[in-house]
Symmetry: C2
Subunit: 366 residues, 2 copies
Amino acid sequence: MSQDKSLPDLAAVRKEIDAIDQQLQLLINQRAACAQKVAQVKIAEEGENAFFYRPEREAQVLRNIMERNQGPLSNEEIARLFREIMSACLALERPVKVAYLGPEGTFTQQATIKHFGHSAVCVPMAAIDEVFREVEAGSADYGVVPIENSTEGVISHTLDSFMDSGLKISGEVVLRIHQHLLVGENTRPEKISTIYSHASSLAQCRKWLDAHYPGIERVPMPSNAEAARKVKGEWHSAAIAGDMAAELYNLKRLAENIEDTPDNSTRFLIIGRQTVPASGDDKTSLMVSMRNQPGALHQILEPFNRHNIDMTRIESRPSRSGAWNYVFFIDFSGHVDDARVQPVLKEIGERAADMKVLGSYPRGVL
Amino acid sequence: MSQDKSLPDLAAVRKEIDAIDQQLQLLINQRAACAQKVAQVKIAEEGENAFFYRPEREAQVLRNIMERNQGPLSNEEIARLFREIMSACLALERPVKVAYLGPEGTFTQQATIKHFGHSAVCVPMAAIDEVFREVEAGSADYGVVPIENSTEGVISHTLDSFMDSGLKISGEVVLRIHQHLLVGENTRPEKISTIYSHASSLAQCRKWLDAHYPGIERVPMPSNAEAARKVKGEWHSAAIAGDMAAELYNLKRLAENIEDTPDNSTRFLIIGRQTVPASGDDKTSLMVSMRNQPGALHQILEPFNRHNIDMTRIESRPSRSGAWNYVFFIDFSGHVDDARVQPVLKEIGERAADMKVLGSYPRGVL
């Protein structure tokens, strides 16, 4: 056993860890001292209200880290640690204040922490427009709101809030969500009579359930975790939940990744008062108002196609003003400062009744 | 401005940060590789169910880090970052599963994360005895439960749970809690007619309020944060809340640290199935059953005094069995393996009807 010559010597490894920790500590504090120098320059140049948080710079740092990562820590884990280190360095000058759509414990909170780290001061708001108001009033530096979520219909609230707001999008966060069909040890697939999960998870797997468990009762639960816990001791029921719940309750995975859309993820926007310089891999969101006339949509889409700009999303919303029948929300790859993007914006600006750039921001890292 | 020769050059500082980040990344991954080697040895020696998490070792690492810390990051912040790094390294082998007294967003969750970092899998339980059961059944590696909390009366539940359990205490976490009296910009102290806060915060500041704001209405709110938010726009009310809420809502501090006990903190216990070797600065918790006879308490306390062992806490609970009238819970400084502790335990063991060592564990770091 411990006499095995091929095994490393525990005391020696621990000594190595201690030496590494000493170096790590010195370097982290050196990094913090550098951040203080940056803050000093910014205050001298921009005054006390200078923006210390630079989304494009942070995105670049994280991309570099993931590109050169050799492991054994995964890209996701090493990026998470660097977010925390950056977050701590930034908070040394002044903690970033972030308002998010609450309550606590939601995916939006998870996205907020993923993006800003734990040294940021995060506060839950009861509604999307409250998040906007907090940031507009300067009570929070940034806001985090969901923009694409398959079941909650929050997209429209967030889009509508942009109509009345001067806020800019300064970033996006994407959370991947995988669902599994989980059962207790003694459950046989053919005996399943009930499937438990949160309503939105049941909705995300609707087609899969229709195909594989037609006619089986689906019961909504307050959370996926509670669904998993419930089926642990039962032999005639299954739960839909993610990796964490499966591990925690030692459940068997009857089927993995059963969500209907192969890339099931929820997307969030970071909103703020600042415009973000190009990071090298950016997206831009536009809001365009058009009269409801034949060919209106084509008039907007055509320049993107002609200039070979990759449009990633388009949504339309009825206008609130009544004067223009539709408002289009368009996402495309590129930054407003890119030479190839500017002619497109110019052309659309000439054709549309109104056009507003909601923001150019780094594409979500991971 | 930017021409100022005394200011650092931003581009140069950023280059320096990039170089630091490269080294940091290499070192963190080297540390992770070391952790894998440790795990390899442990599996060879102790089998697949080996304990990778070593509370005494982690406490030593954090103490060293805080002792040699030169800043600019605070001891608390650098310790937090190292907890995260250790947590990530540990999770590489197998994530630690921790059951805690829920719901999410409570101080117990904060304590759990403070102790285990974000790479641990944490699950909220509805009651203290459920936390015990999860750990006993092996569904969770550790549990986190509050043990001293001025208002909720949870001590007795936790103590009672130990009576029926074979679990060991493997650590403690202390969270400091400071309360301030906060008002909006235009509020004058003499105009305050209502004070809002969470019920337990109102209770924590009762004496101070009686002395300084007698007869003023105290209104309980769902949380301190909501209390702070409520008073922001009012001119005749105040809130009791902590630093985070004060900063977030830009409230004025009429009075700071108004909690009645100068060291207002909540203490939590980590419970597990393993005994923890000495870390160099440890505490031990004992459970002692005594017949209710004159001098019983003195018989227990006397050996501590004579052997010069520092007793930090004593609680008595009525016994459930009925056979013995009282059960005493005693905390003292030292580890069961210390030469000076062993004669004390021997003497108490001879005098008591029953004695159980609940655990020796590292004193809470920070």
